[in-house]
Symmetry: C2
Subunit: 420 residues, 2 copies
């Protein structure tokens, strides 16, 4: 078997043969590895088991959390999220277990009822959302479901191309932009101050333009000194557009994925508007689960300490991916990839036209990757080059095997492409 | 103070004065009693505290309930609801903590996306729902929010007036009917077999007509031999309208109100359609809470045994209401009221034009009742006579005081009305 020190300078056919031999050897192990979704691993979930010890059902203000009511969320839960998001408790609504549902429902309400600023989007149809790409497939799926046209916008290491964004929002049909501003999914970048400021300040033709600020990875650092992120709610208020942003976050990757808490932060006007809609939809969300979280984490410092434990589990996996990518592909020119300081993904770009084949080759050898194109609207990557790597779920050794296979597949597909 | 054996044959002014004296005496106690909503009392909530002991997080099929996924609900949770609702597990979707949210979201999806049978309701607007009255204010609020015209339909002890319903559904704009078929909120009746059959069989002009079968009180019996309720899903299938019904239920009044489980049962076609929409809205609902419920209750027999404990707490309260109403108002002709065998409410009708005043008088003396008109669309009771009594929350002694006050208020307001 060829070692990984095979130089690109070796004869192409020999090199290709060596890669195929390695590929076949890994495939023969009959792996069944899932690197498709950003799921925490069981070891991470163990970190929060203490939360299940809760016997209390009385909130600090005396509310019996076993009974109906309190549609905006327990005051102490709102306080916790307010501290995490650096806003006021009155600017927070605590939801159920899903921030995606809060985003989805905000769009549904805007479509059917409208916003404080304008009539229902249904009546203003057709409408569009700006979609910085590569981005998050579940955001795009919402737009697709409701017939909202998606306009891809290029991203660089600072965030979305703001010249392009500012041009596009001159169209009153453009009602929103999807942003994952910290450890963006999948590019891993954190929006630069200048980007946050321009998003907050830019004039928009639509008075009901909304920034969907999905801060899903707000505290999910892998390094001790994270790049700061400007506070969008504060920036928008200072810019005279206080109702522009809707901030979302979730404890799914802090406590339990699908059994945590979601929250939205927004201006008082937007909170009032959203509560109006939520009050028709439900009598309230699960306050026992809110109590579990506030008692277990206590405050932002408690969350930060907990996140360090997550980082201790995740960082070696991310480092392993970097090591193998560098070792196998460094200097070859056939791939570029992100080096995120937090979040759940590494974004890799192959040569144009190679991503689908790479994903298929990996699949065939037992390593499932996020579908090629998933990071673009309608599942269509115009350059068929982006692959989202999600290393959180498998164990360290499995990741090494999976990444070796992926790197081999990239090289094989690239060789084919370069011959064509 | 006059005793309650004061006969109507006593001089009216004396009688009125005696009632006023009693009213003032109770008002002087500065009560603060809430009989507005059907909330379980703390003693009832205590019954489920054992559920919080759960340490398990692995479902029977090995699913780690702390992680993402399983959008239709854990198989064992679907089995539990299937047994309770007498359907197949494949016909069940387990939701979050709110059946109201399942109903709300089903209507939102029908408005924006449509049903398997027809285009979006938004494109067919204006549309209407049939609203048997007196009914449930939160159902009506959904219709009001989304501009769905509400058509009140009279109810008797068998259910809605089916001659009227069958006439009204000849209009293709009529897309739905709200039903609380067991221990109806607030009338307390259970739909008769003939009503269930006619609802299932009737032709409807709208191919996408839906029965919103809100079986909120499916197992909430106060008597040992409850009146049976025909299975709507089965009836509709037999009638060749398998996709007509959407059944909903909740454990809010079984386990914890606002921290339980909600479920929907429907045809396989409808389940597929709803799952399609739910999958865009969320990655899944709280499986840890689903596991808590299945482990604690085990099966329908476990739920039934638990409900007997609820009944032991509730029945004395309902009996107390009946006793006082009978004692104070029996034979006076100024009020009629239900004698439910289950559920959470007693429905009382005053003389026409008296309900608002009665509620105001009770409020003024410290007894909060559900707002007059709440049981009708847009909060408008055309005869201003219906009052919904919710005796579950307060203690037994408080209920007696509250009901004495209510009965006095009814008599005082009736005297006034009869003089007018």
């Amino acid at each position: 078997m060829t070692t990984s020190t095979q130089t690109p300078a070796g004869a192409p056919r020999d090199r290709e043969q060596a890669l195929r031999t390695r590929y076949d050897a890994i495939a023969a192990r009959r792996l069944a590895l899932d690197m498709t979704r950003g799921k925490p691993c069981p070891e991470q979930l163990d970190l929060s088991l203490g939360m299940l010890e809760l016997r209390d059902y009385r909130a600090a203000d005396g509310t019996d959390c076993r009974n109906y009511g309190v549609v905006e969320g327990l005051p102490e839960a709102r306080r916790l999220f307010a501290e995490l998001l650096e806003v006021e408790p009155a600017e927070v609504i605590v939801g159920g277990n899903s921030s995606l549902a809060l985003m989805h429902d905000a769009i549904v309400q805007a479509l059917l009822i409208g916003t404080p600023d304008a009539p229902p989007w249904q009546r203003q149809a057709p409408i569009a959302f700006l979609c910085p790409t590569p981005g998050y497939d579940r955001h795009f799926a919402i737009c697709e479901r409701f017939g909202i046209r998606m306009v891809p916008v290029a991203m660089d290491e600072h965030g979305p191309d703001m010249d392009e964004v500012e041009r596009l929002v001159e169209d009153a049909a453009v009602k929103g932009i999807w942003c994952v501003p910290r450890y963006s999914n999948p590019t891993g970048i954190t929006f630069a101050d200048a980007v946050v400021e321009r998003l907050a300040r830019m004039p928009t033709a639509a008075p009901d333009f909304r920034i969907f600020w999905d801060n899903a990875y707000a505290v999910h650092h892998l390094v001790p000194r994270p790049q700061p992120l400007k506070n969008m709610l504060r920036e928008c208020r200072a810019a005279g557009h206080p109702d522009r942003p809707l901030t979302f976050t979730s404890t799914s990757k802090i406590s339990f994925a699908g059994a945590g808490l979601a929250a939205m932060a927004a201006s008082a006007t937007n909170v009032r508007h959203v509560v109006g809609g939520v009050s028709i939809q439900t009598i309230g969300h699960d306050k026992l689960n809110q109590l579990r979280h506030v008692r277990f984490f206590r405050d932002a410092a408690g969350v930060a300490a907990h996140m360090q434990k997550h980082a201790a589990i995740l960082k070696p996996k991310f480092d392993a991916v970097q090591d193998i990518l560098e070792r196998e592909l460094g200097g070859t020119g056939v791939a570029e990839w992100s080096r995120p300081e937090g979040g759940y993904f590494i974004s890799l770009d192959t040569l144009d036209g190679c991503a689908s084949k790479v994903v298929a080759m990996a699949n065939a050898a037992g390593v499932k990757l996020t579908a090629a194109g998933a990071t673009f609207p309608h599942g269509k990557d115009p350059r068929d080059r982006n692959i989202r790597l999600a290393p959180s779920l498998p164990g360290l050794d499995e990741i090494r095997q999976a990444m070796e296979l992926v790197a081999i597949a990239i090289q094989l597909v690239s060789l084919e492409r370069q011959r064509a």
